[in-house]
Amino acid sequence: MIKGWRELKIGGVITEPGSSEKYNTGEWRAWRPVFEADKCVNCMLCWVFCPDSSILVEEEKMVGVDYDHCKGCGICAHECPTNALEMKPEYLFREED
């Protein structure tokens, strides 16, 4: 939520580092990378090439995609050596459309 002028710091200073996490760039997406864990070999190439820090990794294993921030550029699916990521049209996953 955007703050009103009463809640803002003097001078409009932003005091919270990395607050853009609250901004949902996932809305931009027209294509969605869908992850199939069975095919994944955890090479981490998707992670090293992702422009939006949206590849979720837990304990050195790729576990999925952060759909709140992924803009759907498709680099991860294009670079994946085992086709564990596949780009599918976003409308298939959105109920409101």
Binding site: I2, K3, L8, G12, I14, E16, P17, G18, S19, S20, E21, K22, Y23, N24, T25, W28, R29, N42, C43, M44, L45, W47, V48, F49, C50, P51, D52, S53, S54, V57, E60, D66, D68, H69, K71, G72, C73, G74, I75, A77, H78, E79, M87
Partner: protein, 326 residues
């Protein structure tokens, strides 16, 4: 001494790097498939693994604008923006102040800190050129990273001195009277090397191992280093978003973007493609070079190829000269 140190310190494998926290928060508003944020993330991967805190001075440009749209901020490390032309001058001041405060005992002396100036090609090749040159000459302990997307992409694809020959830009559009930019691309890493600074390198994020190795060397170098990074721009180059890394790879494989370094005056090409591809394969991925593929313009591709070959030959020559000296 510094060389031995660099060889001893190893960057952990990719899997281990995932254990460190992400320092560039998602939610920044760079275009989908932007190369610049890949470069910044890879910079942080190395810095995290070696325990360095990066202090960044950002010139005006895509990264500065998109990561700090009010009231949000994507940075999890100290960051400053001043103006378009003075990223290098700003980081010089920050570095000098840090040194002075450390000397007076007001800041801890055991912290591993590295100062980084981050700018696009407009803020480096054109507008910030004099402040870059000044900072390199004064010998501040910092790394200058240029993410080179070959035009003023933030304001709408205006030509810069980093734009390659015959590229279509909004200020030199292709039409009946024009074939795009008539001038060649300025070869900035060579100009930076002419300052006699300890470390200059050209990198591409598709070759991330080479990228990280070079950024590590820059981190461990005392004094100024300059890194020129290939930053794909799907919007401005009219290339496909998902092919960003492929375009970057082709730029390297065709010798358009050679990966080299200059360490204390010694030139070395760090990656030599076994069978260099014709530059045509790189050009045809991008809409900004579409007009070159008309039958009447084929000679322009040959001319482009000749220039790429010339620069590659010159680099090889510089490398051989270094070997003779040693």
């Amino acid at each position: 001494m510094a060389q031995v140190k660099a060889a001893e310190i190893k960057i952990p494998p990719l899997k281990k790097l995932t254990n460190y926290p992400e320092k560039l928060a998602p939610g920044h508003r760079l275009c989908a498939g932007c190369g610049a944020s890949i470069i910044i993330r890879q910079m942080y991967m190395v810095a995290n693994a070696l325990g360095y805190e990066l202090i960044i001075a950002n010139a005006t440009g895509c990264v500065e604008v998109c990561t700090t749209i009010y009231p949000y901020n994507s940075w999890k490390s100290p960051w400053i923006h001043n103006a378009f032309e003075n990223a290098a001058a700003t980081i010089s001041g920050v570095e000098a102040a840090y040194k002075a405060l450390k000397r007076k005992g007001k800041l801890p002396t055991d912290k591993k800190v590295k100062f980084v100036a981050l700018a696009g090609d407009g803020g480096t090749y054109d507008i910030g050129f004099q402040s870059l040159s000044g900072a390199l000459e004064r010998g501040h302990d910092f790394i200058y990273v240029c993410y080179d997307n070959e035009a003023y992409m933030n304001t709408g694809i205006q030509r810069s001195s980093a734009t390659p020959k015959y590229a279509n830009t909004t200020t030199q559009p292709v039409g009946s009277e024009s074939l795009g930019k008539p001038q060649s691309k300025k070869w900035l890493p060579v100009v930076a090397a002419a300052h006699g600074i300890p470390y200059v390198a050209q990198v591409a994020p598709s070759h991330w191992k080479d990228f990280m190795e070079k950024f590590k060397k820059a981190l461990l170098t005392e004094g100024p280093s300059f890194i020129n990074a290939f930053s794909v721009c799907p919007r401005g180059w009219r290339s496909k978003e998902e092919e960003g890394i492929l375009v970057t790879k082709l730029a390297v494989e065709t010798n358009y973007w050679p990966l080299f370094e200059v360490e204390n005056g010694k030139w070395r090409i760090t990656y030599k493609p076994r069978n260099p591809k014709p530059v045509e394969e790189y050009l045809k991925m991008q809409g900004r070079f579409k007009h070159l593929f008309k039958p009447e313009n084929r000679r322009l591709i040959e001319e482009f190829q000749a220039e790429v070959d010339n620069r590659w030959e010159w680099l090889n020559h510089m490398e051989e000269m270094g070997e003779e000296k040693c």
